[in-house]
Symmetry: C2
Subunit: 171 residues, 2 copies
């Protein structure tokens, strides 16, 4: 898909067909995340990819807004190091956001929808995913083929108007 | 450009030809940012776009790593609200990272390179851009046509190996 179409076609998809994501398609999504830029090229991320149905169902309970994870074809958990300085914590989050967007667009490109979820219960998610102490799970990204309609460029996205968001030269 | 090519072609570009970015191309970059997803669709961003050479030169001095801003064709300053809770501050950064990636890929799609910079001197950047109290400038994204070589998919990016970053099922 053309890049500009993929950017305009991305939307939150929380209801999925039962179709699994084949290995190469899933790996391409993960590769997009791996290639993302990060502050000082620190790459402060690990991706735990879950496709087992029972594990996805358990994972969907770590936050009230994660229910769609249960029926996703695959969910990627973004795991990152805890940092002592808030400035560093901010860059970790920024970089995770960049990796998220790369993965979501690599998904759209393949007709695959996605939706984020936050994580409430860190102890439980650590137990489910087995990541080491000193790290946390910042977010979950659920992927799957949309059950409603295919991903196509959205004409009028639900966003603040362009002229409100964009300032020329000065605010 | 195909999405998968754009994702693989993105790299930091800090040396630019003198060619300006035409209005429609720049607006497409900004539109990509505006369309980005955000926590609860809060859209915690304003984009101040700078193309004036003298202003770019001033802006390039707000951090030691922002020197490339001086010669960019355009630089977008990401301005965001200050939040009292750290959890909210984290999501603001995450969302700014998503908007950043969208803009950078919309740039690649048009043959335009980019490179981030952090901001050291908040007072100075506020003075230069005129944004209100209660907000801060999280980062600058410089854009311009690459002076070295065109943007093409990178075969072996300087990143941690795929099998180190990706964990299947459990860490």
């Amino acid at each position: 898909m053309e890049t500009w179409d993929a950017i305009r076609a991305r939307r939150n998809v929380r209801v999925y067909t039962g179709q699994p994501i084949e290995g190469p398609a899933l790996d391409r999504i993960l590769e997009a995340g791996r290639r993302s830029p990060s502050s000082q090229n620190t790459q402060p991320w690990d991706f735990v990819v879950v496709t087992d149905r029972a594990q996805l169902q358990d994972l969907s309970k770590v936050w009230q807004g994660a229910r769609h994870v249960a029926n996703s074809a695959a969910t990627v958990a973004l795991v990152a190091p805890m940092r002592s300085e808030e400035s560093q914590r901010g860059w970790v989050r920024y970089d995770l956001g960049q990796a998220t967007m790369s993965m979501m667009l690599a998904a759209v490109d393949q007709g695959i929808g996605s939706a984020h979820a936050a994580v409430g219960d860190q102890d439980r998610v650590r137990q489910l995913l087995g990541f080491p102490e000193g790290r946390f799970c910042a977010s979950l990204i659920a992927f799957g083929y949309p059950a409603d309609r295919p991903l196509r460029p959205i004409r009028n996205p639900n966003r603040r108007p362009f002229d409100e968001v964009v300032h020329r030269g000065r605010w």
